[in-house]
């Protein structure tokens, strides 16, 4: 299990919350950790950093054991040589921006430190703020100081707790590119907590879903998108249109399943055997057709009325948020044209080819 | 009835305690004595302390009060004080009326600390200094002296054996509490100016205070003073 030079972790902690975690991340890879607020993501990161001691299990990096409770091994954060961006930054309030970075550079010869610190400050675009104290910085500036401090250490593992949560779109893009460039340079495992699934998919080689104190599923983006283990996993991946439906009929030989959606019965291809009365998860695509009138709907399409909550156009596509009329189920759709003008503020009709509706069984 | 506050020099502490007990038994009246050095108490009365009788260790301080018009009636000499040289049971200083043992010990470098009351505001300290000067001991002993804030503290320092000995009031030494801890020798009267101890009623004195002031001059009181090692003034 520990033959390669990546990070392997299989642990159990009890305090401050109980958390069971299994994960691995190759050197040079980015592992994004997604999960609902309060799931235990920050707690997991602190445990990797050595700030929380597991009650059982092993953490190893590059074949070296960082934690092995059975063998009474538990390296201190100092011994692990990590780069860590805490969720709340943990800046040294008494030090200027540059000194906040210099303090982590003990591993470099004295003469190189200043250069290195300046290089990283430049990278996060904070050179003008070099001599300001943290309490004179904006939220995003503070976050970037924490980021630069962690990166500048050239660590053996990089732990980032929502490192881009406080910066604007433009700055974030810049930092994304910097991180991606860097990743091939420093070749260490990078574990990044984020609550932005697009960011996770863009940056990460692997995604880990944490929910309610457990690591639920780890895999590549496409693995996870293909077979999410639960609704929670699907939601964390940005699959918004997922909701439970009841099987009304099933034909094993034809691999067809019928269920009721918004009052009408829908038939969809479904390879798994289902029992009538079962609850399964229905997954609607984001692409959809929008109609002003019901008679425009094609015959083989499932259709329903959508109560519009909000919509906006971006990059020639219209993003739509609405409820399936008469239900509390919210859908998020994306169409490649403008919304029909009459529908701009009330109800519209949506149709989806039945072939594009997928059913999945929730695992747990 | 009221219970007057009475300022008394530290050296009369035990004698006054006995007299006050007797007084209370006879009259069912009480008094509240406070002890300190005569100078300190005078200072307090001058600044308004509500004492109704001032019992001093000499006559100088009561006279000061008279001059400041803080008194009613004249001062009365109630006893004549005597000095004693004392040591704790663990000290091996030799005690005698002419301080020869002390002189010996000083030459042999056996004295590290020696206690007297502070001459600045305690008459017993001043007289102890007199005696030491008279015996040519002041120079050798001066930098070994520790000063009690009043004569009772000086006695307590001497008893603690942290000082090898001290010169204090004979009246303190006569107390039973002292005998548990120390030994003493009376000092020859000729080595110092006499301690003519006076008392005076202050301007705020009330009936009980006046009554007690009289009682202090009664035979019962005079007997007790003698028990505590005081000489008595000639009665007019």
């Amino acid at each position: 299990m520990t033959e390669d030079n990546g990070l392997h972790c299989s642990i159990n902690i009890q305090s401050p919350i109980s958390l069971t975690a299994d994960l691995h991340c190759k050197a040079g890879d980015i592992l994004a950790v997604l999960g609902p607020s309060g799931a235990g993501k920050s707690t997991l990161l602190k445990t990797l950093a050595g700030l929380i001691k597991p009650v059982s299990g092993i953490i190893s990096v590059g074949g070296k054991q960082w934690s092995n409770i059975n063998s009474a091994i538990h390296l201190s954060p100092q011994q692990r040589h990590i780069g860590y961006v805490p969720q709340h930054f943990g800046l040294f309030e008494h030090l200027s921006t540059i000194d906040n970075i210099l303090i982590g550079l003990k591993h470099l010869p004295k003469s190189d430190r200043q250069r290195q610190a300046n290089k990283w400050l430049h990278l996060v675009d904070l050179l003008p703020q070099k001599h300001k104290r943290p309490n004179q910085l904006s939220g995003g500036q503070r976050q970037r100081v924490a980021l630069a401090r962690a990166l500048a250490r050239e660590p053996s593992v990089l732990l980032l707790d929502e490192p881009f949560s406080a910066v604007d779109n433009q700055t974030r893009e810049m930092l994304h590119i910097a991180l991606l460039k860097l990743k091939s340079e420093i070749r260490c495992p990078v574990v990044m907590v984020t609550h932005n699934h697009q960011e996770a998919m863009l940056l990460a080689d692997n995604i880990l879903i944490v929910d309610a104190g457990k690591t639920v599923q780890q895999g590549t983006v496409s693995e996870l998108l293909q077979s999410p283990k639960s609704i929670a996993v699907a939601r964390q991946l940005g699959i918004n249109n997922i909701f439970p439906v009841t099987v009304t009929d099933h034909n094993v030989s034809q691999q067809l399943t019928w269920f009721s959606l918004a009052g009408s019965t829908v038939c969809t291809a479904d390879i798994l055997p289902r029992t009538i009365g079962d609850t399964v998860m229905c997954l609607l695509p984001h692409d959809a057709n929008i109609h002003r009138h019901l008679d425009e709907v094609e015959s083989n399409h499932t259709h329903f009325e959508l109560q519009l909550i909000s919509s906006y156009e971006l990059h020639n596509r219209t993003q739509i948020l609405g409820f399936i009329a008469g239900t509390p189920t919210a859908l998020r759709l994306e169409i490649n044209r403008k919304l029909p003008s009459t529908a701009s503020s009330s109800s519209i009709y949506v149709s989806i080819p039945a072939t594009e509706i997928r059913l999945i069984t929730e695992f747990e | 009835a009221d219970s007057p506050a009475i300022a008394a020099a530290a050296n009369v502490r035990f004698a006054l305690h006995a007299i006050a007990q007797q007084f209370t038994q006879e009259t069912h009246l009480t008094i509240r004595p406070s002890y300190g050095s005569s100078g300190q108490l005078t200072q307090q009365i001058l600044n308004g302390a509500p004492f109704e009788i001032f019992i001093s260790a000499d006559s100088h301080y009561p006279l000061l009060l008279e001059e400041a018009e803080k008194t009613q009636g004249r001062l009365v000499v109630y006893a004549i004080g005597r000095l004693a040289i004392i040591k704790s049971r663990d000290s091996n200083l030799l005690l005698d009326a002419k301080l020869q043992g002390l002189s010996q010990a000083l030459t042999n470098n056996q004295i590290a600390r020696f206690a007297i009351a502070t001459p600045a505001h305690a008459p017993y300290g001043l007289r102890a200094k007199d005696a030491l000067i008279q015996q040519q001991l002041w120079k050798p002993i001066e930098n070994k002296l520790i000063y009690g804030e009043n004569v009772a503290q000086a006695a307590q320092f001497a008893l603690s054996n942290s000082a090898q000995g001290g010169i204090v009031a004979l009246s303190l030494v006569k107390a039973p509490a002292f005998h548990e801890h120390g030994e003493f020798s009376i000092i020859d009267q000729g080595l110092h100016q006499p301690l003519l101890q006076s008392m005076v009623l202050t301007s705020t004195a009330g009936a009980t205070a006046k009554h007690f002031f009289q009682y202090l001059q009664s035979d019962t009181a005079r007997d007790i003073f003698v028990q505590y090692g005081f000489d008595l003034p000639r009665q007019d």
Binding site: I103, N135 | I146, E149, N161
Partner: protein, 224 residues
Amino acid sequence: MDWQALLLSIKLSLVTTILLIPLAIITARVLAFRNFAGKHWLEALLMTPLILPPTVIGYYLLVGLGQQSWLGQTLQSLTGQPLVFHFSGLVLASLLINIPFALQPIQRAFESIPEDVRDASACCGLTFWESLLKVELPLVWPGIVTAIVLCFSHVLGEFGVVLMIGGNIEGETKTLSIAIYDSVQAFDFQSAGRMSFVLLIFAVSTLAISSHFARKMGVQHDRR
């Protein structure tokens, strides 16, 4: 003006402060960051000198260190001189009395370092000593200044214990506080007034300097 007494007082204050503050920093850090059995009892014990009147402490020192006690005799045979009625006795007493004054502000300051910051310091690879010197001490600096001012001034003003165990030996145990008391009792209002005035000036300038330092080196803990 009793310059000797002033010098003695300042000497006593300096010696006490210099001995006590480093010990207090170490102890405060342990109490702030570690948990162990009996910690609350230890904390209460270390606080008692605050609540006990100096005369009580003086009494126990007198009884405990005096030559009639076993401890006092042992100490005397070791050091060749009695602790009571001697400068070293005053130092011991001052140390004892000032434990809470030195400990409390520093411990509070350590406790108010946010967990995030300590985590970050560990994760920046700072060793115990580096973290102490570069991160913790600068952050607790205002607490240390408070402790120094409290101790220094408290020793300067200590009266009860000194009176009880020290007598007032000139140049040895007669501190300024006692010298002033003595002058007043001896009707010497002139020197009492002069000494008081000197101390007033001294107090105001000490405060000005220390608050300047605290402001310059201290950091407003800001939760941004």
